[in-house]
């Protein structure tokens, strides 16, 4: 790895309401996971977080050790990408769920013990009564992710972050996990941030979408608007680079040329300009602000897709 300071994430800010599911999309390395981890102050060494990370009124970086501990899993819970490695192999699944509740004393020890089985039933683990005593290796991948979800929601957090929750799973179980996430967020009225690079998943699940590129939000808005009228060239390219079942062979797929920038040496101006097909001179020198382009939809671009007559042929040139 090259040395130097990498600004993985810079100036990210967004609002989520209870019961809302917000999708955070972007290529790998665009800072999605870092955003989530820094909210819990879990950025791995030698990473550093500077500035402020506000959750509501609280600055996560200013919290004492006890406060951040109380915050983790209680205010904000996280579900990780790989359920195969995210559960402790030497502890019983039921215990790992119980432990999450015990940590915050929201329940008495007795209560948390009694809540484990219902919790597992709630995430639809069959024969939960028998399986509490199982170890993770006796669970399938899908079951493990259910257990992770049970652990995450056991303290009824106000925000649940799911980091690529289905990427490591078989296609057949992905849908059921997503369904579970949606139902459980409704039941608990928790806000959910779904980190993914799967646009189809976002389309089916999320109320709003945040598109990240090089550690910045480049576009944000209601899912429907973003999919219908993407305004940032990156969002546009992202959608055009994916096949869609409903538009068979009508449009050609367009790939995004180049690779995401090295965050140790980010380009001047708009971070996307080296890969942008619609760039103008200003993009090379000045970084655009995140401006409102339609009610509720924000984009960080000087050009905006609505100002381009025929993006398809423009992009083909």
């Amino acid at each position: 790895m090259s040395s130097g300071t990498v600004h993985a994430v810079d100036g990210i800010s967004f609002d989520i309401d209870r019961g809302e599911i917000v999708g955070v999309v972007g290529e790998s390395g665009s800072g999605k996971t870092m955003t989530a981890l820094s909210l819990l102050r879990l950025v791995p060494e030698p990473g550093k977080i500077s500035g402020r990370i506000l959750f509501g009124e609280q600055d996560v970086l200013q919290m004492a050790d006890d406060e951040i501990r109380e915050f983790r899993g209680n205010e904000v819970a996280m579900i990780f990408q790989d359920p195969m490695t995210s559960l402790n192999p030497v502890l019983r699944v039921g215990f790992q769920v119980e432990e999450a509740m015990d940590a915050h004393r929201r329940f008495t020890r007795q209560q948390s013990r009694e809540r484990v089985v219902p919790m597992l039933q709630r995430v639809r683990i069959p024969a939960a009564k028998e399986r509490v005593k199982d170890f993770p290796h006796q669970f399938s991948g899908g079951m493990r992710q259910r257990a992770m979800i049970a652990m995450g929601v056991s303290n009824e957090p106000s925000l649940l972050i799911a980091d690529e929750p289905t990427t490591a799973l078989d296609v057949t179980v992905q849908a059921s996990i997503i369904e579970l996430l949606r139902d459980i967020s409704r039941e608990l009225r928790a806000a959910v941030i779904l980190i993914t690079h799967n646009m189809a998943l976002v389309a089916s699940l999320c109320n709003r979408v945040i598109v990240m590129y090089a550690g910045r939000i480049v576009e944000e808005g209601p899912t429907r608007a973003i999919f219908k009228n993407p305004q940032h060239p990156y969002t546009w390219s992202l959608l055009r680079s994916m096949p869609r079942v409903d538009e068979v062979a009508k449009e050609r797929l367009i790939s995004i040329k180049g690779v995401p920038p090295d965050l140790a040496k980010p380009p001047a101006g708009c971070k996307f300009h080296p890969r942008c097909r619609f760039r103008i001179d200003k993009c090379f020198t000045e970084e655009p602000p995140l401006g409102e382009v339609d009610p509720g939809q924000l984009a960080r671009c000087w050009v905006l897709m609505k100002n381009i007559q025929d993006p398809e042929s423009e992009a083909m040139r």
């Binding site: 791995p44 501990r69 899993g73 490695t85 995210s86 192999p89 030497v90 940590a103 290796h137």
Partner: protein, 314 residues
Amino acid sequence: MSRGTLIYAAQRLVLISVTAVVVSSLVFIGIHQLPGNALASERRLNPATEQALLHHYNLDLPWPQQYVLWIQGLLHGNLGESLVNMGTQITPLLLRETTVSVTLGLAAVCVTVFVGMTLGTIAAIRQNTWVDYAASTAAVVGYSVPSFVWAFLLILLTVAPFYNWTGGTFYEDIGWGKPEQIPVPALALGLPYAAIVARLTRASMLEVIRQDYVRTAWAKGLKARIVILRHALRNALIPVISILGPLITGIITGSVVIETLFGIPGLGKEFVTSILDRDYNIVIGVFTFYAALVGLANLAVDLIYPVLDPRIRY
């Protein structure tokens, strides 16, 4: 303990018995190839007495016949009679001494495991700080200093209180058996190996604290102590357990020296005495006991695995 584990343990016990018989047979045969008869040559005996003695110990028979008789005894748990102290039965003697050695050895293993894991864990969670460097340097120094040197240093460091407490440092004269006599020899025996355990624990911990499940534990909001001890250390210990076997053999080796040095009436001291006295019957007996002890210790270690790691089944 599951059925599979019991069957596994039973198989191992059979194997241990076979090993013990094989080892002691090899020693028996080896020793009977020595020139002259097994009665100590320093003693001048008149021919009639000597003949009577040889007959008493079956030494007048050809060695294959002696071997058969000895094996028959062994299968009945009878290791024969001391050549030097006529009338002393070896099996009860060695059993008595084994309890002494096992007590001391277990104390030493506790020292090793406790000191080693603590140092290793602290070094790992303070990686690349002065604490880590100090612990790592201490580890190399720790196992470069042999057990008997540790013994000398411990005695010198604790001279005054030590004397008042245990009444001396040579237990042959003052008697062995008080619990307060155990710490110093146990520390001397355990410290060199604690250094090895510390090194391994550190490396293993560094590996484990980067694992996803440890991140999950932090994300759940668990206390640091619980994350480190329950989630990280439990997993980090699994590879460390694998050296406990060789380590126990090492501690047994060390105990031969330490028991002799401190005059502790254990198997190790008995072995040295019997070698010096040319009391071959006891030498063979001690070999049998040690082979069984090493086997049992390794079996105990292997039975710890499934307790620590549920993925392992026998």
